[in-house]
Symmetry: C2
DNA sequence: CAAGGGATCTGAATCGTTTCAGATTTCAGG
DNA sequence: CCTGAAATCTGAAACGATTCAGATCCCTTG
């Protein structure tokens, strides 16, 4: 590992003239006998030179195989890249697997596209060798969007440390003042103004707790007293299973925490005999939802309804019910969260959230931040959508007559 | 439009010292009284300076609020960005809506992540004002991956013109020699070697036609003679509907062309009375599939089976069948393409393709190209997966007895 | 004819790094 | 005490563009 680079002894094999690999602005300028400024202007400010000369410049550029100004150099000089980074704390592999995420990203991309901004996907490497913060720290971007990061995580700190336009999705904006969270220690540098991040940061959320409350209340109104809860991950990589009170206290992901809070609030407002049985899915996939459901129903056979924190998990629950021969909704009610495009087909009762609008709002917030403004945080509403997967608790063991 | 930039007359409000916005390497160096090279080395080559000095450097950097070397400048100097562009010719908005695309992108991202490469999404702007080629031409990337571009399109040419490592997905690598397609006219510059793109380009495809052939043959084996075909887009933005022979001749998207070819090949090898009824979906969404199916069945009531070019379209077909009260598979057989994760739940007979592996292979090919090698093109297999959505053509109007 | 004003074009600074090729210091071995 | 080699550190040249502040030149106007 000592000898890193071999000396470039004998140059390259067959290369006579000075021009080596890539053609530059300068070479075009030289070929024409004009200044580099002129060539640059030919591309960027046609009004700064005569049409005739411009034509000649573009012609020789073509002849030489020059494909236009190097984007990188241009970005460096201009001070912006035209790229917005999207930070994901989970492996990208299954960022895409989640339809809700895909939907969000799609509408986000679309709204940014209007301003000619492209999306750079930044995920922490699964490989534990490499620094998980490297992508965030090393990305050439004009702004960052944080899609889901654990509260108080290194990742989030790394994002804030870049002190650039940032939009936090489904996540409270960390308070900067008291915490000394992200701002470096510049006590002994009083002339450097402690630029508050708040001016460069904006938040877009949904009413997570509210939706969850509606869902839980719906089940309780239907008479269910033993309700299983399929939770999204509570914290980074732990592996799912029954949720202990201690683990519930340490929940790190904001949407999970909020939805849980909503469930609990509804519980507190309802009949006192109602009980919640929590279990945590290892990942947000149908198959994890299926596994969790099977385990949960095995250990708590009295459960007659399931609160799922995502439609994806609910889909797994539906599968599990089918496997067990439990008819939905008569023997088991299932309720999801997100209202994915496919959920209507499944007749899934669920909590709708404005996923597309969220993406759009995030894009708009970013655009405003880039424009130097500080948009107010927004909080979007959620709604309960009742379909066919929930019904009143069966009062007897005999199945109710199927309707229709 | 004449007066573009106001003169920076009175500087900024409250800023005394020389250090304005962002801290740079140089300022850290100056604060410490060392050279910039040393500060740079502190970050990039710890072995090039004493541990003690390195600590001091890092400390003052922290104190000053310096977040490390600027990624952009670093990229410019080093000659690589750590970013791979993914080119999409459709609006990104629904690149994400297609689960097959999402799956592919996920595994692609994962395989690139191993080499610390991130994905930049490059989509042509829907806005007709802005140049659709700009994203491709202006992206700071080390390589490009083309996911779906019309053959012979401007977009594809723009990609090839950048002459950088490129992987073409589900698309033949354009021949470079005779066509004078992308290489600029450098006839009068004989010392510039006409670098062949082939060495920097690689292709990854699936056996599109083969899978399609299997699907069509399967239906014909089941006795179907009037078969509807739900096509993916044949060419850029046209708007769907029945496919005229002329339009079929001009098909621009390679996977569409290949699948169509497969269907036709099977047809040619089967009983002569079999007929295909082609219709084109405007976009690859369930609702477009539904619309197409309704129209198709209305105009051709004798159709007893549907060949869909994607599972997404097939999902729409299933919906349409339900709307019409046609039982699947007894009154109508439906067959898809892709085998999405959700398709098993729908009991959809379909053509499986190794979507994840495709993403992985593309990533690997890119890595090899970046390493200076030229990987061979690969072609991955497809398979027919028979589930419950296909059955023998009903010989009478009366429905068969439902099984199980 | 002088003055003024556009239209064109150029020089040079700058963006913020990395890295090569020394310069200087340190130190073990003889 | 001398000699090299190893360890540290530095100066300066890239990387490839953009852009401001002129310098020229030409033409109208008084």
């Amino acid at each position: 590992m000592s000898s890193s680079s071999a000396p470039p002894s004998s140059a390259s094999p067959s290369r006579a003239s000075q021009s080596s690999g890539r053609i530059t602005l300068r070479e075009v300028a030289r070929a024409l006998g004009v200044s580099v400024a002129t060539v640059s202007n030919a591309y960027n400010r046609p009004d700064q030179l005569s049409a005739a000369l411009r034509e000649r410049v573009l012609d020789t550029a073509r002849t030489l195989g020059y494909g236009g100004p190097d984007p990188l150099a241009r970005s460096l000089r201009r001070g912006r890249t035209g790229v917005i980074g999207v930070v994901y704390d989970a492996p990208l592999e299954y960022a895409f697997a989640d339809p809700a995420a895909a939907l969000f990203l799609g509408s986000l991309a679309q709204s940014l596209q209007a301003a000619s901004l492209n999306l750079l996907l930044l995920a922490s490497p699964g490989d534990p060798q490499t620094d998980p913060l490297a992508p965030v720290q090393g990305a050439s971007v004009d702004g960052l969007i944080v899609y889901s990061a654990a509260q108080d995580s290194e990742l989030l700190r790394a994002v804030m440390a870049r002190s650039m336009p940032t939009v936090l999705v489904d996540q409270p904006v960390p308070v900067d003042q008291a915490g000394s969270v992200n701002q470096p220690v510049l006590a002994d540098q009083p002339d450097l103004p402690a630029q508050d991040h708040r001016a460069q940061t904006s938040g877009v959320q949904i009413d997570d707790a509210g939706g969850a409350r509606l869902a839980a209340r719906h089940l309780m109104d239907l008479g269910h007293t033993h309700i299983g809860v399929l939770c999204l991950e509570l914290g980074p990589r732990q592996g799912g299973g029954p949720v202990t009170p201690e683990r519930e206290r340490q929940v790190a992901y904001h949407p999970t925490a909020e939805r849980l809070r909503g469930y609990r609030e509804a519980l507190a407002a309802g009949p006192s005999e109602t009980r919640l049985f929590l279990t945590e899915a290892e990942r947000n996939t149908p198959s994890d939802g299926e596994t969790c459901t099977l385990e949960l129903l095995r250990s708590e056979p009295e459960i007659t309804a399931l609160l799922c924190m995502s439609d994806v998990l609910a889909q797994g629950a539906l599968r599990a019910a089918q496997t067990l021969g439990l008819s939905v909704p008569h023997r088991l009610s299932v309720i999801g969260y997100d209202d994915l495009p496919g959920s209507a087909d499944l007749k899934l009762t669920t909590v709708w959230q404005p996923t597309s609008e969220k993406g759009q709002r995030v894009g708009e917030a970013m655009l405003e931040l880039l424009g130097g403004q500080t948009p107010p945080d927004v909080r979007l509403p959620t709604r309960l959508v009742v379909r066919g997967s929930t019904a009143a608790r069966a009062t007897t063991d005999a199945p109710l007559h199927p309707p229709g």
